[in-house]
């Protein structure tokens, strides 16, 4: 389980996170939502250790990540998988080598077993015959899927996804959402998704954290979010004409 206690992060005079307490449920689809600039990405970077919070604790099963030694942090990080907003695939190596990268670096698995695992991970994200292609030779949606395949190659306990649907069309977004959901259920990973995409929030959000102006403003699930009285959250959800109309037609 991941628990956050009083996370604060400033950049110069700007307070981005102003004391966030939250619990991410194990084996569930946890979502962090909020408007641009609300601190979602900064919060996720604090959780995975790419940024160090100025104050507060990031607890992985009770152990404060920020206080771990460098070697302990690296060991814990091998239990994390992360899908980046722009996939962050290593562009000088093939799709196959990207997915095999953590396996080759952290395990002593023989090469044939590594390739088996790579093919399994690529099949899991519905990719075939792309092993030898370079990241530049595949589409944005495929890159995201390769990113997911790489993230799950070491069978992580925790899967982090930063804006998994950004830049994708609605159909591909749905495919990606379903893949992440499937991986969460099949492997029992604790998945934490940073997103703007209300479709995925409403469809898959089992534990939703709404950030507003650097604070956790609301926490609940997809069923509860529709009936919330929280003004800022309602403003965020019903910002578009389409969502307001859907609300009028009782979109539950």
């Amino acid at each position: 389980m991941i628990e956050l206690r009083g996370i604060k992060k400033n950049f110069g005079d700007k307070q981005v996170l102003r004391g966030i307490d939250a619990v991410f449920l194990p084996g569930k689809m946890n979502m962090i939502i909020g408007s641009s600039g609300s601190g979602k990405t900064v919060l996720m970077k604090c959780i995975v250790g790419l940024l160090t919070p100025d104050e507060g604790e990031v607890l992985y099963n009770g152990k404060d990540f920020t206080k771990l030694k460098y070697t302990e942090k690296r060991k814990l990080r091998q239990e994390l998988g992360m899908l980046f907003q722009y996939s962050a695939l290593f562009d000088s190596i093939s799709v196959e080598d990207n997915v095999a990268f953590p396996l080759r670096l952290f395990t002593d698995t023989p090469e044939e077993k590594i390739l088996e695992r790579v093919n399994f991970c690529l099949a899991k994200v519905n990719l075939e015959k792309v092993n030898k292609l370079l990241p530049d030779e595949i589409s944005g949606g495929m890159k995201k899927r390769v990113g997911i395949a790489r993230a799950i190659s070491l069978n992580p306990k925790y899967l982090f996804c930063d804006e998994p649907n950004s830049g994708l069309d609605p159909i591909t977004s749905t495919v990606i959402d379903k893949l992440i959901k499937e991986i969460t259920v099949d492997f029992g990973t604790t998945t934490i998704i940073n997103t703007h995409d209300l479709n995925s929030v409403l469809e898959h959000g089992e534990n939703i954290i709404f950030l507003h102006k650097g604070l956790k403003e609301w926490q609940g699930n997809a069923a509860e979010i529709r009936d919330t009285n929280n003004e800022s959250l309602n403003e965020f959800i019903y910002a578009s004409e389409m969502m307001r109309e859907a609300r009028g037609r009782n979109f539950k």
């Binding site: 250790g49 790419l50 942090k73 990080r77 907003q85 562009d91 953590p102 670096l105």
Partner: protein, 245 residues
Amino acid sequence: MRIIYNLGAYVLLLRNTFTKPEKARIYWKRFIFEANAIGVESLGIVAIISLFTGGVTTINTAYQIVSALVKPSIIGAIVSDTNILEFSPTITCLVLAGKVGSNIATELGSMRVSEQIDALEVMGVNSAGYLIFPKIIAAVVVIPMLILISMGLSIYGGWFMGKATGIVTSNDFITGARSTFRTYTFIFAMIKSYSFSFIIASVSSYQGYHAGGSSLEVGRASTRAVVYSCVLILFADVILAKLLL
């Protein structure tokens, strides 16, 4: 204050770079890749510069010391000494600071901007070690080799120019070059080569690794890598000359 901050960050980056590698086999592959990129791909430009520098040194030396009292063999002595001692290590490294330095900074800067370095860190990889260590080792191994080649080619260029233009006979040039050769000069040149190679790879890596979050910043990091490497090479050149000669 900015200088102190950068110096501290540079030292910390080097500390992370020289920690124990995750898997030696993977680092070996990266070393071979970098050695090829830094060394083999720079061979052409180093050869051209060395031949021309040697040739021009012969012409300039002859122009400055034309006198019946001076033996023509002195041209060979000056050309070989100057090239071994100064031109080959320094000019070659200044050129490589431009070619290799900007390449390293741009590569790492692009990886920073496209979150590839973050991806390595999240996986638990020591990104500085994985990316920078092979570059520094490759530079320190390969650049001195390029400088050795440069020394040979610049002397050859000087000899060829002397012979082709009739400034100095082949015999006089070789006699002169042999007469003043000292092993220490060569050792000093190699010490400079190793120092300059380290400066090029580490300073450029630092600039690229700490590049900001936009493509504009990658360009700036690349420029800074070249400028700082060149200035530090010249600075180190003076210090080493003062200390060791």
